[in-house]
């Protein structure tokens, strides 16, 4: 069966052009950037060129880019590293209710180490409420973390306003930009972001590479100690092929983003419009306009997300759901709950995320199957109203 992939939020294929560009760095230009001979110099050059490219991608300076083993490490270094470095100034950190699960878990970890965590609620569309954010800032607050856009429902946050508020209050602002990178033009200076995490795979680069953007004067404590690479903040010989891959991915992305975003927006708007029109008792999750171009997130009354996912799987379509029954904990999505949904509502969601290699035909096929899948599962359901 032909497989249709519509789960780009969970993983992306590496662009073949990126793979080509990485190849020389495995067996020909294999030098360690720390070595002083000319084989090592090739590694140094590749590393520093990549750093410049990534800096350009987000309008940062090159000495503000720290390469890591992925976005999770970058988030750990950004939040835990900053908290440890500044614990004499204060022990209070604010995160949003709809941060990625990794940030919720980091917050729990910091709480056990004596930090205080506040969570700022979002509105019914998933946007952080600035007034409620301000209400939470105290003289003990050292850091605010709000993701650039939601990895689940695709809602884009009022990042510039949050950056401005953080600046006024003298608090550092961390943003997980993994869901947004490649879909929105990110400018750390304009946005007022001090610490930011990026992932390579989310812009069609290899997995296992990420970046922490760290603005000057917003330094962090290292979490991995060793030979002092990356300004001593991330020791360990650099993964030069991976880093080259990420920078190539960023270069391609910068060129292709405007066209891609236009294409994804038309996919998204078509899917949302048609599903809401055709399926009774269906609802959009997230914001009607302030949402990532790639993100379609809908829910259907009376049915459960894993059943929807399995039904699509049987038809060769890979999609995702906010259902608890596909997660490790069996808890419903904290993001959907934070938008004010009841558990039973949060269970019936369908998340479609498009990407570089999707076509109009992919969208046709998903739209073709939605009505029959929803109808069949509703016929089985004891809680759908017309039964």
């Amino acid at each position: 069966m032909k497989q249709v992939y519509l789960d780009y939020q969970s993983a992306k294929p590496v662009d073949p052009r990126v793979v080509e560009g990485m190849k020389p760095y495995f067996s020909e230009k294999y030098g360690n950037p720390s070595a002083l001979h000319s084989i090592g110099d090739e590694g140094t050059e590749a590393l520093e060129e990549s750093r410049k490219t990534i800096a350009r991608f987000i309008n940062a300076d090159e000495d503000e880019i720290i390469f890591t083993s992925g976005a999770t490490e970058a988030i750990n270094l950004g939040i835990i590293g900053y908290a440890l470095k500044n614990q004499k100034k204060g022990n209070h950190i604010i995160i949003s209710e709809i941060e990625h699960i990794s940030i919720h878990n980091i917050a729990k970890h910091l709480e056990r180490s004596g930090f205080e965590i506040s969570k700022v609620p979002v509105d019914q569309f998933g946007r952080v409420n600035l007034r409620k954010l301000e209400q939470r800032i105290t003289d003990k607050t050292i850091l605010i973390s709000v993701g650039y856009a939601s990895n689940e429902i695709g809602t884009i946050q009022p990042i510039r306003e949050i950056g401005k508020l953080a600046e006024e209050k003298g608090v550092a602002f961390h943003s997980d930009a993994v869901a947004a990178e490649g879909l929105l033009p990110i400018d750390v200076k304009r946005d007022g972001i001090h610490l930011m995490a990026l992932s390579s795979n989310d812009i069609y680069g290899p997995k296992g590479v990420g970046v922490l953007y760290m603005r000057k004067k917003f330094r962090v404590n290292p979490l991995i100690i060793g030979g002092g690479q990356e300004q001593g903040l991330r020791s360990g010989s650099e993964d030069v092929p991976g880093i080259v891959g990420m920078s190539l991915a960023a270069e391609l992305m910068q060129k292709e983003m405007p066209k891609e975003v236009k294409r994804f927006t038309s996919y998204r708007d078509r899917m949302i419009r048609q599903i809401l029109e055709e399926i009774p008792d269906s609802h959009l999750n997230g914001h009607p306009t302030e949402r990532l171009a790639s993100n379609t997130h809908v829910r259907f009354d009376g049915i459960e997300g894993e059943s929807i996912l399995l039904s699509f799987k049987d038809r060769g379509i890979a999609i995702s759901t906010g259902s608890a029954c596909t997660s490790k904990t069996l808890e419903p999505s904290h993001t959907l709950i934070a938008t004010g949904l009841l558990h039973e509502e949060a269970h019936g969601s369908l998340q479609i995320t498009t990407g570089r290699f999707n076509t109009d035909q992919d969208i046709d096929s998903v739209l073709e199957f939605v009505p029959e899948i929803v109808t069949r599962l509703r016929e089985l359901s004891p809680i759908y109203k017309s039964n």
């Binding site: 609620p121 409620k132 069996l330 016929e379 004891p382 809680i383």
Partner: protein, 259 residues
């Protein structure tokens, strides 16, 4: 093991569920179990002749394994005596399906429990002695925490100005017809209005009931508001599901309590 890594038998029962539907009649018993945290609700219907189960049907809201286990249970019990069916365990159902992912064992394999509920209610209806461990104790009315604290900070005692509620997730307590009318009115300015009542149903005039059903108001039955929470303003409501005896938090922006 992945939570969706299912055996072929599970997938077969998910794709082609047996015995979907309901049964009616004096010789029919129904058992309903659900776990709102995991999101599964199962109904099992059995027809009983003497002490034998002659037919079984089901309806399920839930994930793949929830649908498959209820389907399999209805297959297994046909022809069993009530005593035999009472001995059917979740484990038996899982084994008949060639196993379930461990994480799904307790949560979405409640079909056997629904079956037992049905048999118990049948026996009870015939005046037989039944050991019932799920007898609910009627709760005493508890006082609502936070109402005074958040008055004018998201708690309202009436709906005077609709614009105050624009795009705000509003929880309104059922306190009679007026609260229902106000709930319907609120849907003009916000997509999210929840009407909360401790009862199993609302006693309304046919006209108002029809209006309510046609509106986007979400009614939460058998639910009690225990506490209003927030930093400065209303942010969350702590709600007790009286049926399941479970408390949970719901994110809201406004609470309306019309005396």
């Amino acid at each position: 093991m992945k939570s969706t890594k299912y055996s072929e038998k599970v997938l077969d029962h998910f794709r082609n569920p047996r015995n979907v539907g309901t049964l009616e009649g004096n010789d029919v018993a129904v058992g309903k179990v659900g776990n709102p945290t995991c999101g599964d609700i199962m109904e099992v219907f059995i027809r009983i002749d003497g002490d034998k189960i002659t037919d079984a049907k089901f309806r399920t809201f839930g994930c793949g394994s929830a649908i498959a286990t209820t389907s399999m249970t209805t297959e297994m019990v046909k022809g069993m005596t009530l005593d035999e069916a009472m001995k059917l365990t979740r484990q038996d159902v899982a084994e008949e399906l060639d196993g379930l992912p461990p994480i799904k064992m307790h949560c979405s394999n409640l079909a056997a429990d629904a079956l037992h509920e049905a048999i118990k209610s049948y026996r009870k209806g015939r005046g037989e002695e039944v050991a019932d461990d799920k007898e609910k104790v009627e709760e005493e009315v508890e006082c609502l925490v936070g109402k005074d604290e958040f008055l004018d900070k998201g708690v309202y005692t009436g709906v005077d100005n609709l614009q105050d509620f624009e795009n705000r997730r509003t929880l309104i307590l059922y306190t009679g017809d007026k609260s229902v009318e106000k709930a319907i009115e609120l849907t003009e300015v916000t997509g999210r209005v929840i009407l909360l009542t401790p009862d199993e149903s609302l006693v309304l005039s046919p006209e108002l009931a029809e209006k309510l059903a046609a509106s986007t108001v979400k009614v939460l039955y058998e639910s009690r508001l225990l506490e209003i929470r927030g930093e400065v303003e209303v942010e969350k409501a702590l709600i007790r599901n009286l049926d399941e005896d479970e408390d949970y938090e719901l994110f809201v922006d406004a609470v309306v309590i019309i005396d």
